[in-house]
Symmetry: C2
Amino acid sequence: MAKQALYYLGPQGTFTHQAAADAERALQAYAPEGTELIAAEDVPAIIRMVQGGRGWGVIAWENNVEGYVVPNLDALIDVQGVAGFARIGVDISFDAFTLAGDSTVSHMSPVAADSVAVSEDVTRNGQTHEEHAVSAMPNVDALARLEVSAHPHGLAQCRHFIEQYQLLPVPATSNAAACRDLKPGQIALGPAICGPLYGLHTFAAQVQDYQGARTEFLMLGPRDEAPDLLQAARVQGVAEFESIIAFIPLSTGPGVLANLLDVLRDAGLNMTSFISRPIKGHDGTYIFIATIDAAPWQDSLREVLAEVVSHGDWVKTLAVYPRRERPNPPVDAWMLPTGGVHVATGTMSADAMPGDGVQGESAETTHEVAAQTRRTAHTDDWQHTAATRRELLW
Amino acid sequence: MAKQALYYLGPQGTFTHQAAADAERALQAYAPEGTELIAAEDVPAIIRMVQGGRGWGVIAWENNVEGYVVPNLDALIDVQGVAGFARIGVDISFDAFTLAGDSTVSHMSPVAADSVAVSEDVTRNGQTHEEHAVSAMPNVDALARLEVSAHPHGLAQCRHFIEQYQLLPVPATSNAAACRDLKPGQIALGPAICGPLYGLHTFAAQVQDYQGARTEFLMLGPRDEAPDLLQAARVQGVAEFESIIAFIPLSTGPGVLANLLDVLRDAGLNMTSFISRPIKGHDGTYIFIATIDAAPWQDSLREVLAEVVSHGDWVKTLAVYPRRERPNPPVDAWMLPTGGVHVATGTMSADAMPGDGVQGESAETTHEVAAQTRRTAHTDDWQHTAATRRELLW
C-alpha cells in the first residue's frame, strides 16, 4: 500500500507544515504505511485534493490569540464531501535562523537593556499630537544593522528580539519563504521545522514575545472515509469524542438561538466553543458553529441532531475527533477582566470577589463595585451605584 | 475649544486611517469643533491614549470575511475605563498606485486572458505528488516584470490584478508603507486614502479579487464620557441603539449558555452576533460576547442585565452605538451551504428545498436528501438514509 498523502499549506516550513509533521505520529493508527507530506498552494487547493480523493489535508482551525481562522471555517461549512477526523495543536514559537557558518551574525550580541527600553518609553510618554507614528526603533544607523526577515506577523510577534539585536525588519511573503531565501548576513524567523528543512543554523530558539500562543489544526479526509477512520480510533480504545456541528435555523427572530441551545442543555451536552457567522455571502443571516463534547452516534447528541433537523433547521457535522485533554478550571473571580459588574452570591465568598488584591489607580472602579456589593449582595442596591452605571452604561 | 483627537493605527494610509477619515462626518454630532486624526503605533497605544483622556480611538472590530479582530476584542474586554460609542463600516477595496508622472508604468497593459488562466489550471489539474508548491505565476522572465508592493494580505487579495499585469510581488510591512515608500517603476496596492495622502497617481481603482469585503470599526472614548456622547446622539434623534455586552458565567457545565440566552429570549431581545472566547490567559474558561438590538438603559435589556448580574455572573457593556441599517433577509433554502441535512416542514414548501436547481456531481448528496425528504417530511425516515449518515456522521 502506498503512503497516505497529507496536503498542507506550502511552502515547506509553514506552521501548517509543522502541524502536518507533528500529526504524522498521531495519524499512524489511521495510515499504517505512513504519510507523505505535500505542499499545496492554498487552502482551496487542499480541499479540492481531499474532495477528489487524492489524500488528506490539514488546515488551521483556531488560534488562542487570534480566534477562529474564519476563511477556513467558512470553507469547511461550504464544501461538499469533506470532514474533519482529527485535531492537533501546535505551539506557535519562532526560532531565529542564520545560514550555517555565517560568520557575520555568529558573533552578534544583544544591545544593553537600557537602549532596548527606549522605544517603548517614547510611545508611552508621547505627549505630542503631531500626525505621526512613533518609530519602534532606537536611533541607530540603519546601514550598520543586520536584516531580519519574516512574514509581517512573524516580525510583529518577535519585536523584543528584533529590538534587542537592533535588527532591520524586512517583510517576506511567509516565514517559510524568509527561511528558504535566507542570505548571508541575514536572520530569518520561522517555525523550528525550518532549521532541518533548509539546513539552517538555529541562532536562538523561541524568540517570540508572547509565550503560550497555540494554533489548533483539523485533519480533513473525504467524508465517506470518516466513519472508517473514526471506527479505527474506537478500535484503538478512544472512547470520548468531540464534534463540530454547524446549524442554520430556518426561522429567525428573538429566541432562535436560545431554543437551539435549550435542546443541547436538556440533553446534558457540554459545549466548549460557540460562535455565530453570517452564511457566506449573505449578510444578516446566521449560521451557528458549536463544538460539543460527544460523538454524533452517541444517543445524547444523536437525539439532539434529530430533534433540530425535525424542527426544519439545517445541520451538518463538520468534524468528529478524539476528545482533547483540556484544562477545565473553575472560573475564579481573580480571573475576571478589570471593570465590569459582579456581585457576590451565596455560591461565592466575599473574599473571592473582584478587586481584592488588585492595586493601583486602574482598579478603582472594580474596588468600588466590590466595596458596594460586599455590603449589598442579595439586594438590588448594586443597581444604583455609579460604578454599575459606568460599567453597564445604563 | 480644541479639535477632538482621534487616534488610529498608523502609519498614515491604513484601512483604520480610512475608517477614521470616514468617521469624521459621522462624529460631527459629538465633536462640533472637528476631529484631528493622529497615527498611533499599535492598538494598545490607542487604548492607553483613550484611557488617559487624551482623545478618542478607532479600532478594527469585525470583518465579514475574517470574522472578529480577536486581539482587539480581547483588549476591549480587558481594559478599564474605555467604551465604544460609535460603529462604522469601511469597504475593503484596494487601488493600484504609481508615482505621479511615472512613465515606466503608465503604458502598461494587461496580458491576454489566456495566459492569465494558466496558473489556476495548473493547480486544479496538478496530478503529481512531488513535495512542492505550484507557482502562482505564468512562466515569464522575472527581470522583465514590474514590481508590485503591499502587505502580504493585500498581495493575496489582489492576485488576479497581479497576474493580469504579470507583476512581481514584493511584500511590505503594511499597505500604507508600500504606498509611502513607492519607487519609480513600482506599483503599490492600498486603500483609496493613500492617493491624496502620498500624492500618488491612481493607476487602477478597486483591483481586489473579492468585491464585498467590509470591516467594521468601533470608535472608543473614555467610559465616563460615553453617557454624554450617547445622550448627544439621542438629542440628534437617534432612537434605536445596539449594545455589545460581555458575560462571564461564574458557574460552568451544560446549560450555562442556554440559561443565559433564555433570559434574552424571554425579554424578546434580538441578537445579531454571538461568540464564545476563553478568558484571556485562561484556556478552558468562557466569556460570551453578544451584540444585542437594544440600549442598556431600555427596560428590556436593563432587566436582562440586572437578572444576569443578580444571578452572580460578571457583565460588562463594551459598546453602545446607534443601530446600523442592516439587511435582514429571510433564510431561504437556496442560501444553504452544500451538503448538510435539511427536511421540509410545514413552514417551507417542497419547491424551496435544497437541491432544487442545483446541477452537477457535487450536489448528489443534497439531491438525495431532498428527494428522500420530499417523500418523507413529517416522518423520521430521513434519519435512516445514507445521505443523512454521511452528512451527520452518526
